[in-house]
C-alpha cells in the first residue's frame, strides 16, 4: 500500500489482510472509483493569477493523492509527471493542468496512446521547444529527449537520429489563441529523412510508432520503461528478471500498462527485504503520507509551502530527467524542510485541537505511542524508535508546564522516525 499508493493506516492494512496478494493488487489496479477530474475552481476565476492557480493545482493533486480511492492512479500520474515531465518555469499552468489530467486518464492505459498524447500536449510542446521547431530551424530539444529520456535511453541512437527526428517533428506546434495543439504543414519538413537507417518522409508521430514497432527498438523501449517503473516502485535494488518480465508484459499486451504494473507488483523480488528497505519516500510521498495520517487536507497542511525545500516541487522538476531517488532526499536541507513541514502540521494539530492520538494525557505513554505509530501506518516499529518516543513522552509529561507540547510534537517525532521516511 505504501508503494502502490501513499500510505495506509494499520486499520486499512488490516482490512486487506484476508485477501490474496493478487486480489489486493487487482483492487489497487481498479481505478474505476477515481473521482472526476476537473481544473480547480481558481482556474475559472479571472482574479486568480498564475501563482494562485499553481497553488490550487498542487493542493488539488496532493488532496487526490491523499484521499482518492484509487491511489495507484495518482501514483502512476506522478510517475508520468516525472518521466514525461514539464515545468511551470516554461509552461502555462493551464497547459500543465491539462497535461497532468491527460497523464491521469492514460496512467494505466496504453503506452502508445500515452506517448502520442504526451508529444502533442501544449505543455510538452512548450517545455521542450517543439512549438518553435520549424523546417528552417529544427529544434533538437524534444527529439533528443524523446530518444534519450522518454523512450529509448542513452546509447541506443545516434546524433543523426536526433537530427532526423527533430526534422520529423517540425510543424507540430501550438495554436496560441486556442491554447491547443496545431499542425502547421507550412512549418513541417516535408522531405526525406533518415531515421534509424530508414529513409522516408518521416512525420513526428511515425517516429514514436516506429520505436514501438520496429524489431530493433521495441525491446529496448520495453526494457527502458520497465526499468523506470521498477526504479519508481521498488527502488535501486536491481532485479533484472523482474524488469524483463515487466518488459515482456508490455510487449505481449501491445503496450498495455495495467498488466505490466500488475506483473511488477506481484513479483517476489518486489517483496524482498532489500527492496522493502531500499527506497526513501519522496518529499511528495512524505507530505501526502503526513496528510493521510493527520487527516488534514492540503489547504490545512500546505505541502506546497515545503515541497520545494524538500527538493520536490510538483510541476517544477529540476530538469527534463525529472527527480532522482533516495540519496537526493537525504540532505540537511531536505531534512530541514521536512522538519519544518512536520512542525507546521504539528502546530496545526494543536491549534485546531486535533490531537494525533485521542484521549490525550489520560492515556499511558506506551499506549499513546502505539496509537500514534499505527495511525502513521508504521506497523513494525523498531524497538529503538519506539523507545525514543516513549522516553520523550515521559520526560515531557514530567516537565510541569510543558505538557501542551505533547499535542504539538507527537506527530512531528513520528514523522521523523526512519520508518515513516522510508517508502
Amino acid at each position: 500500500m505504501r508503494r502502490a499508493g501513499f500510505g495506509a493506516t494499520a486499520a486499512e492494512v488490516a482490512a486487506l489482510v484476508p485477501f490474496e496478494r493478487a486480489a489486493i493488487v487487482d483492487r489497487l489496479l481498479d481505478v474505476s472509483a477515481a473521482p472526476a477530474d476537473a481544473p480547480p475552481p481558481a482556474f475559472s476565476d479571472p482574479a486568480q493569477g498564475n501563482w494562485q492557480r499553481y497553488v490550487a493545482l498542487v493542493q488539488q493533486w496532493t488532496d487526490r493523492m491523499a484521499t482518492s480511492p484509487a491511489p495507484l492512479q495518482e501514483k502512476m500520474t506522478l510517475f508520468w509527471h516525472g518521466h514525461f515531465t514539464s515545468s511551470r518555469e516554461k509552461c502555462s499552468i493551464e497547459d500543465l493542468q491539462r497535461q497532468i489530467a491527460r497523464y491521469r486518464a492514460l496512467a494505466l492505459g496504453n503506452l502508445r496512446t500515452l506517448a502520442q498524447a504526451m508529444a502533442i500536449e501544449p505543455a510538452m510542446l512548450d517545455y521542450l521547444d517543439n512549438a518553435v521547431s520549424t523546417r528552417w530551424g529544427p529544434n533538437l530539444n524534444f527529439a533528443r529527449e524523446l530518444l534519450e529520456l522518454f523512450l529509448l535511453g542513452v546509447g541506443n541512437y545516434s546524433e543523426d537520429d536526433v537530427a532526423a527526428a527533430a526534422r520529423a517533428w517540425t510543424g507540430h506546434t501550438i495554436d496560441r489563441t486556442a491554447r491547443r495543439y496545431r499542425f502547421r504543414a507550412d512549418w513541417h519538413d516535408n522531405t526525406d529523412k533518415t531515421f534509424m537507417g530508414v529513409t522516408r518522409n518521416w512525420d513526428g508521430p511515425q517516429i514514436i510508432e516506429f520505436l514501438l514497432d520496429d524489431s530493433r527498438t521495441r525491446l529496448i523501449v520495453a526494457r527502458f520503461i520497465a526499468g523506470r517503473l521498477w526504479d519508481f516502485f521498488a527502488g535501486p535494488v536491481p532485479a533484472p528478471a523482474a524488469v524483463e518480465a515487466v518488459a515482456q508484459s508490455l510487449l505481449g499486451s501491445g503496450w498495455e500498462l495495467r498488466p505490466a504494473v500488475r506483473t511488477l507488483l506481484l513479483r517476489n523480488e518486489f517483496f524482498s527485504d532489500a527492496v522493502r528497505a531500499g527506497l526513501v519516500r519522496t518529499p511528495v510521498e512524505f507530505a501526502v503520507a503526513a496528510m493521510r495520517a493527520t487527516g488534514f487536507d492540503a489547504a490545512t497542511a500546505h505541502p506546497e509551502w515545503y515541497l520545494a525545500g524538500m527538493g520536490q516541487e510538483l510541476l517544477n522538476p529540476p530538469d527534463v530527467s525529472g527527480w532522482r531517488p533516495n540519496a537526493y532526499w537525504i540532505t540537511t536541507t531536505a531534512a530541514a524542510a521536512k522538519t519544518s513541514f512536520a512542525s507546521y502540521v504539528g502546530w496545526r494539530q494543536r491549534e485546531l485541537r486535533r490531537p494525533f492520538v485521542p484521549g490525550g494525557r489520560s492515556v499511558a505513554p506506551a499506549a499513546v505511542v502505539t496509537g500514534a505509530l499505527a495511525r502513521a501506518g508504521i506497523d513494525e516499529p523498531s524497538p529503538a524508535s519506539r523507545a525514543a518516543l516513549v522516553r520523550w513522552l515521559e520526560q515531557n509529561r514530567a516537565a510541569k508546564w510543558d505538557d501542551w507540547a505533547e499535542d504539538q510534537y507527537l506527530a512531528v517525532l513520528v514523522f521523523l522516525t526512519p520508518e515513516f521516511q522510508l517508502a
Binding site: 541512437y157 530541514a336 529503538a384 522516553r391 526512519p418
Partner: protein, 820 residues
Amino acid sequence: MLPADIDTDDALRHLSVVDDTFGPIGRRRLLQGLGAGLGGVALASLLPGSLGASLAAAAEVEAAAASSDGILVVVTLNGGNDGLNTVVPYTSGPYRDLRGSLAVGADRVLRLDGAVGLHPNLTFLGQDWAAGRLAVVEGLGYPSPDFSHFSSMGIWMQGWGGTGTAGSGWLGRYLDDLDGGLFRAMVIGGTIPLAYVGRNRRATAISPNAGDLAVQDSPVRTRVHDAIRALAATPTGRGAWADALARIDVDLLDVGRTVAPSFRPALPADRVERDFVLAGRLLNAGIGIRVLGVSMGDFDSHAGQPGMHDTRMRQLDTGLRSFFATLTPAVAARVTVMTVSEFGRTPRANTSQGTDHGTASCAFVLGASVTGGRYGSPPSLTTLRRGQLLHTVDFRSLYATVLTGVLGADADAVLGRRYEPLAGLLVVRSNQRAEPAQPVVVERPRTAGFVPISPERRLDTRDGTGDVLVAPIGPGASLELVVAGRGSVPPTGATAVALNVTVTGPSAAGYLTVWPTGEARPTASSLNFVPGQTVPNHVVAKLGAGGAVSFFNSAGATHVVADVVGYFADDVAVGLVPLTPNRLLDTRDSDSPIGPQATVPLPVTGRGGVPAEGVAAVVLNLTVTEPTAPGFFTVWPSGTPRPLASSLNFVAGETVPNLVVAKVGTDGAVSIFNSNGQAHVVADVVGFYGPLEQRADAVRAVALSPSRVLDTRTTAPIGPGATLRLPMLERGGVPASGVRGVSLNVTVTEPSAGGYLTVWPSGTARPLASNLNFRPGQTTPNHVVAKLGPDGAVSIFNSAGSTHVVVDVVGFFAADTNTA
C-alpha cells in the same frame, strides 16, 4: 588510421566524420557507471556506511588552524551557458554572421582587449578585469563532447580523466582526503550535486530557507532535539537507508546550530543574490569551509535568448558583486571564485531566437590570488565540427589549476590523470607554505648518450594521439606532451628526446617552439610555417617537469604531429660521431624517383664514413625534390614493420630538407617509404651514433632549452655567396670549453631567390653540401648538427639571393664528462 600527412581539407573531413564519438558506442561507454539518473545509482552505491561515517562526524566548528588556506567557490551555471555571448569575440565577422540578431554588438560589450569583450551586464567583472584579478578562460571543453545536459553535467561534475567513469565528483574526491567535519565543503541549495559527492564523503547542503532550524530556545525544543538524536542513537535495524534518514536529522541539528547566525540579518529577496550573500556570510563565519558551491540557472536558452541571457548575466554579476561585498577582507584574500557550465551553445543561432546545446565555452576565475588575463584560447569560429566549436582547453586543466593553486590538492590523484594547470593563472599566495630555499648548486651539465629507436608516434592533434585534445593548437596556446615512460622512452633516465615534429594545416604564418615543460618558454622557434604548409623538422628537446616537453604555437591554429626517433640518457654509452657530409643516395642520378607507396632500401653501414660495425643509428640530411603530389617519407630500420610516422612531409613541387635520425636495421640499412606520387630523394649522411668505447671521436650530447643566437631580421640579410661566422661558445647554454659540436635549428625566411645554406666548422674549407634548401619567399627550417671550428664558431654560407637566417641552439656535443 589517418595518413601521416593530410591537407587541411582532408584533416577537417576526418575530423568531421563520425567515429563513435557522437554515436551510440561512445555514449554508452561514457555512461557506464554513471547511473540511470544523475548520480542516482552512483549515490545509491555510496550509501550505506560511507555516508554515515562522514556525516556522523562531529559538527564542531573547525579549528582556526587552517585560517590561511585557500577557499574555492564554484559557481555552476546550469543549463549550458552561451560562452560566445559571455566573452564576446566582438570584432569577429564569423561571429556576427553566425549569431545574426543574437550577436552582442561591438558597441555594447565591455572591451577586454582588441578581440573580446564581456557581456554588457557583467560590469562588476569588468571592474575586476581592470583591477587585474579576473581571469577569462576560453575554449573549455573535453573530447567527444556530449550534448545531453545530463551526460555533459555528469562529465563536468565527475571531472575524471582516469579509466572508466568515476561515479563520484571531483570536489567530493578532494573532500575524501581532507580532515574535518561537516563544513569542509558546503553547497547552497536543496540537493548535493554529484560534483560534491566523493567516494566516502560528500558536501553538506545548506538551504537559504533553513534559517530558523534547530534553534534551541526552550526546554521543549531541547527535549524534541534529544528525541531526534535518540532515534539515531542506535542502528535502526531497517537497513542503511533508514539509518541514513535518522542520522541526517541529527546532522541537521548540528548544522543548524552552527550556521544559524549566518541567516541574520535577513537575506536579500532575490534568489540568486540571496544564495551569494549566504555563501559570503558562511565563509565569514570561519567554520572551516574550503569548498563552497553556488548554482544558478537556467541558462538553457533554446528560445528567446536575448532577454533570458541578459537576465542571467545580470544575476551572475550582481551575485558576485554582493558576494565580494559581503566578505571580510581577511576572508576575501583567501577566496577564489570560478564558474562552470556543462557546455556552451551552438555558434549558429537557431530560428527561435536561441541557441542549442553546444560544446566549448568559457569560464571566469576571479579573486585576490588570480592573475588577470585571458587563458586558454578562443575556439575557432570558422573551423567547426558538425557546426560545433572545437574546444582548445580541457576543463580538467582548469580543475587542476584550482585544485593545486587554491586547495593545495594532489590534482593528478583527484582527476585520475595528469592535466596541466593553466600556467600563471593563480599566483602563489604569500601565506602559502613555501618550499625551503634550496642552495643553488652550479653543476657542469651532464652529457648524455643517445638511444635511437624506430620512429614512434607520440603526438597527433588530429586524432588525439598522446592523450591530447583532438583540436589544433590555437594561437598563443601550448600543450604539454609527456614523453618519458611512453613507448620506448624509459620513465626515468632520459634527459632529452629526438623528435620529428610536423605541423600540418596551419591557418596562419607562425612558428612552433618546443621546450622543456616547466621552464620559461624561450624566444626561439623549432619550426616555422606559412598558412596551409606542411612542415617537418627534427627537434632535439630537453625533457622538463614530469618528463614532458611543451609545444607552443605562435599564431593561427595548427595541427602538430610528433614522432620520437630516439632519446638521450646519461647511462647510455652511445655517442655521436659527426661526419663530413657524404651523399649516399640521389635518385635523380638514375632518374628513378620513388613511386607511390613504394619503399627503397638504403644501405648505410660501411659507406660514406659510416663503419661496418657498431652503428646504432645514422644521421641523415634527407631532401625531397620534384615530388608530383603531396606526401611524406618515412625512414625506419630495415627489416622491421613500417611505423605510422613521417620523417619528412612535402607538397607537390616543393624541395624540402629534414635532418633524420634513423636507427639502422640488422642488415645495416634503413628503409625509405614514399606515401604519394613520384618523388626524388637525396640522402646525405652527416653522422652516426655508436658505442663510445669503440670510438674515441664519439661525443655525447647535452640538450638545451632552445636559445636564439642569431636573427638577421634585426640586422641585415645574408647576401648571395656570403658567409657569416657565428660564435657558439658561452652562448645559449653552450659552455666555454670541451665542446665538439652544436645542435642548431636553422631557419631561412624571406629569401629573395631559390638557394641553399651550408653550415660547417668555421676556419675549415666549405664542403659541397647543403643543410637547407629553399625557394623564393619560402620559410624553411632544418635541424643542423655542426662541428665547431677551432675558434668555437660555425660558418653559414648562402648560395643565392639574399635571405634572413634565424638560428637557435638546442644542444651541444662534448666528450664524455660524466666520469670526469
